[in-house]
């Protein structure tokens, strides 16, 4: 049973614009959510997290928003850079199952 879903397999944006990646979840009992970033031929790396008691967490160009009533979280990247081109995964901390990922392409 998929606990988290990333319904957009790919996203293409222009350099300098905003990238918004979405993730929906079903179980309300998670403590916090994590976003991971994965480049080709490398393992995923942790990017940013958000506690279930918050609705926003910001780290430089990356902001994650949590809407508990909608069971939805989103990752905003502003401004997007070509180096952000990667696959992004969301995952709850205490389940360890990931969404299918969204491939972000940032065009120069």
């Amino acid at each position: 049973d998929q606990q988290v879903k990333q319904n957009s397999p790919s996203l293409s944006v222009q350099e300098g614009r905003i990238s918004i990646l979405n993730c929906d979840y079903t179980n309300s009992m998670f403590d916090y959510f994590l976003w991971y970033k994965k480049y080709p031929a490398e393992g995923p790396t942790f990017l940013i997290s958000i506690s279930s008691i918050k609705d926003k967490n910001e780290d430089g160009r990356f902001t994650v928003f949590l809407n508990k009533s909608a069971k939805h979280l989103s990752l905003h990247i502003v401004p997007s850079q070509p180096g952000d081109s990667a696959v992004y995964f969301c995952a709850p901390n205490n389940d360890m199952r990931f969404g299918a990922g969204t491939r972000l392409t940032v065009k120069p």
Partner: protein, 111 residues
């Protein structure tokens, strides 16, 4: 960077042969995981371990077994490899129920 080493990095094998992938960590983390990554499916959990000799199944465990006889090593075995097990395999470690640290992956091709 977390000390995680996966071996081999690449392997080509034939259908029906046994294959063992190794994950070695130097962080003394309690939790270890095996994932596979396939197009359209993202990362799927195969097995995980919460301590020496303590393992459990993930979402795609059929055809795979694991063993953890030491804290630092987590082995994934395909008893009889099939073409559907062609994939990229990632090991991950964690001290608890928090963020994971991943290895660089093993590309496995089953012909």
């Amino acid at each position: 960077d977390a000390g995680i080493t996966q071996s081999p990095r690449h392997k080509v094998t034939e259908t029906g042969t046994p294959v063992t992938l190794r994950c070695h960590q130097t962080e003394n983390h309690r939790y270890m995981y095996w994932y596979r990554q396939d197009p359209g499916h993202g990362l799927r959990l195969i097995h995980y371990s919460y301590g020496v000799k303590d393992t459990d199944k993930g979402e795609v465990s059929d055809g795979y077994s694991v063993s953890r006889s030491k804290t630092e090593d987590f082995l994934l075995t395909l008893e009889s490899a099939t073409s559907s097990q062609t994939s990229v395999y990632f090991c991950a470690i964690s001290p608890g129920t928090e963020k994971l640290f991943f290895g660089s992956g093993t590309q496995l091709s089953v012909l």
